[in-house]
Amino acid sequence: MSASPRKTDIGPPHYEQFLPPIIKKNYGKWLYHENPRPGVLVHVAESGDKLYSVRAGTPRILNVKTIRLFADLADKYCGGHLRFTSRNNVEFLLTDESKIDALIEELHDLGFPVGGTGNAISAIVHTQGWVHCHSAATDASGVVKSLMDELYPHFVNMDLPAKLRIAFACCLNMCGAVHCSDIAILGVHTRVPEIDHANLPKMCELPTLIASCPTGAIRPATVDGQQSIHIEEHLCMYCGNCFTVCPAVKINNAKTDGLSIWVGGKVSNARTEPKFSKLVIPFLPNNPPRWPETVEAVKHLVEVYAANARKYERMSEWVERIGWPRFFKLTGLPFTKYHIDDFTHAGETYKRSAQLKH
């Protein structure tokens, strides 16, 4: 058999070939949609056609055997058409309303819950963690699994004041929109990296390494007659950027790596402008396999938010209404010096008025 010529730069396949007939027919002509029950959306077209989307949560790490199960379900219920969402959910696209219950039951039996629409917690966007990443301060999939086991009722129901978006990143590289989430969990390193002076000159380019530091903490130095570096400890804030460019500067630390929690970010423009999440818990211990301290803290934040926010208030809008002092009082979280920014433009985060609630 002769090999076909090597193809390159063909780009992704054209999306049109994957669209179900009802979408091709009504492309750009949708009139409105409704969310009749958790995990089910119905989109109604100008033509009167109705498209039902059934959304199920996945663990993001998917075995090809599971993807084949999804493919079989798509064949059985929706002419072979399905899609994934930006939050790692799978969506089945049906035209026959009467098949929805049977599909949901099969998904449930396979262990994939249907939900994540409307005023709910959708699947947690997350990173690779110890399954695949070199700079992870903690695992990602394990923490997310532990969290979602506890937050599960909020995935399969729509009982929150507004939608609640949670994201997880295992280090400050943040391969995910962690910094703009209602609740963000972020793996943190808390100690200066250990330098492998013997291997550093072989493994790393010194100018790149020195330039990688956002605070200029890395200085050239001669160690045991070899060219290496010295880190000004008081300038290091453990971002790990040096480790990314130089494996000999070891940032991972089994004893001192941990997790932090941030709240009140959003990306949507609805009502209020997009904004960053803010630090509320600077450090929690790395405690596999279930990370009970982190799970408890997030569950508590969700409960306090759900009990106090008004209808349509996202986490950030609730906190802005009540103010940060009351947020710390209501949640019982200690406020410390670590909550106060001390990087570039830190002063913009200081309260510069006497407008306070007493």
């Binding site: 090809v64 055997k65 899609r83 799978v90 110890w130 695949h132 391969c175």
Partner: protein, 397 residues
Amino acid sequence: MSEKKRETPLLDELEKGPWPSFVRELKKSADTPVIQDLLGQLERSYEEHLGHWKHGGIVGVMGYGGGVIGRYSDLPEEFPHIAHFHTMRVNQPAGWFYTSDALRKICDIWEAHGSGITNMHGSTGDIILLGTTTDQLEPVFSKLTEIGFDLGGSGSDMRTPSACCGPARCEWACYDTLAAVYDFTQSYQDELHRPAFPYKYKLKFAGCPNDCVASVARADMSFIGTWKDDIQMDAEQVRQYAASGTVDIQKDVCERCPTRCMSWDGTNLTIDNSECVKCMHCINVMPKALRPGKERGCTVLIGAKAPIVGGALLSSVFVPFIEMEPPYSDLKELLEAIWDLWSEHGKNRERVGEFIQRVGLGNFLEQIGLEPVPEMIAHPRTNPYIFFGEELHEKQA
């Protein structure tokens, strides 16, 4: 060859509970030595609280510099089957729509040449094929291209652009996000596959200001759909929402409007559209009654990024409104001008948002050839340390 199954008591804990378990996903292939070693190393990370992956070396497919992330175990003697465990990023179809047939073909390739483990999808949007050896990269690539798929981006290149489901399944899409993401991806295959920039450059296409692809937080260039004219209203449907009791129009709609541009007298909803900032709230609450206007396009924002290196940024307004019609010539001209300037003057690993902060947005606009407009700023400068140029007096003279 029979290998002793590794005990994984800590990971086994994560098979319990109602949420789908990634451990169960891995164990579906527990009969393969690769997954045995992966589970073994992961269990060890759980015991030690420490990851065991090394940095990527330079691995890839012939002629490409991106799309493959090299990954090696730092315990290769103990876990030889994952000594090499590289990731391949496969450019997803726009909007993440698939047929069962296409998915099965990808699964077959990945089962034959890799670990059989995927992410659907990675944070940037690609199909992530997790774990294979260097010698399998070229066969996977060749089979992927045979079925019409190609690799995505990695490193200092244009990263795989992504888009929301757009007009395929959303009445709020103010432009065709799928057509746009496909066009831009195909136009810049070289920039996607051959890293030549100071750092990564992400493009994200969101059909409306709800921004379901988080473009404002994550894209160096965010294309957020919007409109210029009046919100389309079906007054009868507004009354039906009110009558149904599901929506308190005064409280839930008018009082939640950021510019208070709506009023409700119990029968009629009035909108002062000149004050509307297109936030989407009222439309989100009453999708049967309200829709975006008819004069549609997008707002282009620039410069979002996560913290590394110089701190996190949201993207900021660059073009307040532009129609999104193929072949998108004006936007491509702008994009290429940005890439030229940034490639020439950006520092290594400096994202375009950081570059703009360093040189100043005013100077950046001047170099790109774009006029400054007040939509670009939250407010004018408050500090009087102004770098006046010679042209100030030349103009007056």
